[in-house]
């Protein structure tokens, strides 16, 4: 019996003699082999807990506290003369930069306007020419006697403008006659 047990029992006898006589062994039951089993379970959990902890990305203790001073030291060693120099930007230089920026901006705007206006004209002309050529080609290939008579009736062309070319049967297979406009038709 150690001193703590003795002291506790003595105290208990003085204030509660009936309670002091009762057995202190716990009446509660524990499964057989529980304490051996639970020790292994706890050790497994400790192992998992420790290894999960280690697998996380870690940095040495106090790394971030030292980082700033370490970087400054390295920079100072590599550039001992320049470390204390501070770059000064004069106000007049700032104004000059503003003018230069404005000039560059104007230049860009001018080039952009010039480029876009010229480009638009070129595209329009090309499109017109292409359309007219295609149109006249279409008319030449597809005009027939009825069309020519209609044009003459409406005084859009004169009979003198028309040259009737008669092809021999040797030269043409399917069609016997083609009317060809010698002059361009102006609508």
């Amino acid at each position: 019996m150690n001193s703590d047990t003795y002291e506790v029992n003595k105290e208990l006898k003085d204030i509660a003699p009936i309670l002091a006589e009762l057995p202190k062994n716990s009446a509660s039951e524990v499964p057989t082999g529980y304490f051996q089993l639970v020790e292994e379970q706890i050790m497994r959990q400790i192992f998992i807990s420790e290894n999960v902890h280690k697998s996380e990305m870690q940095v040495p203790e106090g790394y971030f506290e030292k980082l700033e001073s370490d970087v400054i030291n390295v920079v100072s060693k590599n550039n001992p003369n320049k470390s204390s120099e501070v770059k000064i930007v004069l106000f007049s230089n700032v104004k000059l930069l503003q003018y230069a920026a404005a000039a560059v901006l104007i230049l860009f705007v001018s080039v952009w306007i010039e480029f876009n206006v010229n480009n638009t004209n070129a595209i329009t002309e090309d499109t017109t020419l292409e359309t007219s050529d295609a149109y006249f080609e279409y008319l030449e290939d597809n005009i027939d006697e009825f069309d020519i008579n209609s044009l003459v009736d409406h005084d859009l062309i004169e009979e003198s403008d028309i040259t009737l070319i008669t092809y021999t049967e040797d030269a043409v297979t399917d069609d016997s006659q083609y009317f060809i406009l010698e002059s361009e038709i102006n609508f």
Binding site: L19, L22, E29, I42, I46, S49
Partner: protein
């Protein structure tokens, strides 16, 4: 089995190369004491098992921060007590139902009918105590701890603990006298 002193166990744990050996000693040395301390608080074996394992995991996670201002033993008891209280608070309603069953299981394991009746009376008397008084009673009566250690575990003054323990013991004694 003879276990190393607490100081040596702590040194093994912080040495890293023998860390596992240190934890093995720690668990082996304190598993039963902590189990019974927890069991008396939560009463049910399954709950005690859960709380015991959580207690050791918490110890492992916080061992680096242990300042050695108190003894390792009282620090472990303190963590076990807090874990038990948290567990009881989280499962208060369920706990009330299960304690009645476990109390019956406890007393039926005794052959002596008289002893069974007395122990049943003791168990029911302990249940009537307020939580703090019950904790102090268990630590003093069952674990036989000095008042100073109980004070460290419960964050209470020694004077208040003595008063609390004496009150608890008197209540239990009266309860047994009336019921046996």
């Amino acid at each position: 089995m003879i276990f190393p002193e607490d100081e040596n166990i702590l040194n093994l744990i912080i040495s890293y190369d023998k860390r596992n050996e240190g934890f093995r000693y720690l668990v082996a040395k304190y598993k039963e004491k902590l189990y019974w301390h927890i069991r008396r608080m939560v009463e049910n074996h399954e709950d005690a098992d859960d709380v015991l394992q959580n207690t050791f995991l918490k110890v492992v996670k916080n061992i680096e921060g242990f300042q050695r201002q108190s003894s390792l033993f009282t620090w472990l008891y303190r963590i076990a007590t807090n874990e038990s209280i948290n567990f009881l608070n989280a499962k208060k309603n369920k706990y009330q139902e299960s304690t009645d069953v476990s109390a019956l299981q406890n007393v039926t394991s005794y052959e002596s009918v008289n002893e069974t009746i007395v122990l049943q009376s003791l168990a029911s008397a302990i249940k009537t105590l307020p939580d703090k008084q019950k904790l102090v009673f268990n630590l003093r009566y069952y674990d036989e701890l000095p008042y100073q250690d109980i004070a460290d575990i419960t964050d209470t003054s020694v004077g208040a603990l003595k008063a609390s323990y004496h009150l608890a013991v008197k209540k239990i004694e009266e309860h047994i006298k009336k019921n046996v």
